[in-house]
Symmetry: C2
Subunit: 119 residues, 2 copies
DNA sequence: GTCACCTGTCAGTGTTGACTAACAGGGTGC
DNA sequence: GCACCCTGTTAGTCAACACTGACAGGTGAC
């Protein structure tokens, strides 16, 4: 999420979306950037949970993808960063364990040299 | 600042520095990354005001650069993003005006160095 | 039919970022 | 002298990102 916010263009997208939901082409026109570029940014932001997109049909039958802002309010401090890191560590360990479980019955790849350098 | 935080490696640096001040070589060793790479990250973070570095002489006379964390506590929401954007807009406008002034008065630049935008 | 909208995706390009190996220099201690 | 710490900077590689132009497809209005 921080990576998604760490780009001026994307912050400006947030500012535009704060005024209300817009469809992609209109937003690209207002911001003066190309549509594919806007797509990339929106995709990133959607993955980060900052925006959501809905494909709707306008009254005259045209398909339009409307994006809108997902309100967020996060406290960003040393402690929250530490907590997030710990949570991520646990999540990765769980995922690794799940992968290990899967590969035990399925396909034996890496022998044992992929040991995580923990300290 | 968000760009500086938007990288996992740098978040891990924060975690390490949260345990206390360390000098560069030691930190690089603990994290298992090369020293120049660590330099780059630290430089970025120092520019963002997240860490500070002090070159000190250890008791045995060796020069060592100790880095330490600058505690931060920021609220990150749609409104704060909007405020930051507005502030940045104003700052850029001022800078543009100053540049214009400078070019008008020949080479009138320099006495006031990098004004930091964040408080 | 053509025009004017829209969506989605592709192959490209230039730039920035992340990263490594290797350098030069300075101290202490032997 | 050499070995072992540290700092700071360079050149260079490699992958990811930011971005553009052009494509294919859809719809309704003229």
């Amino acid at each position: 999420m921080l990576a998604a916010l760490g780009h001026p263009q994307r912050l400006r997208i947030i500012a535009r979306l704060a005024e209300g939901r817009v469809h992609v082409s209109e937003l690209a026109r207002r911001m003066g950037i190309s549509r594919p570029l806007l797509y990339m940014h929106l995709e990133r932001m959607e993955k980060a949970g900052l925006v959501t997109g809905d494909l709707e049909l306008s009254p005259d039958g045209k398909a339009m993808k409307y994006f809108q802002l997902v309100p967020f309010d996060v406290r960003l401090s040393v402690d929250t960063v530490l907590d997030a890191l710990r949570a991520d560590e646990v999540a990765q360990r769980d995922e690794a364990a799940r992968m290990d479980q899967g590969s035990r019955n399925d396909d034996r790849e890496g022998p044992d040299d992929m040991q995580e350098p923990r300290s």
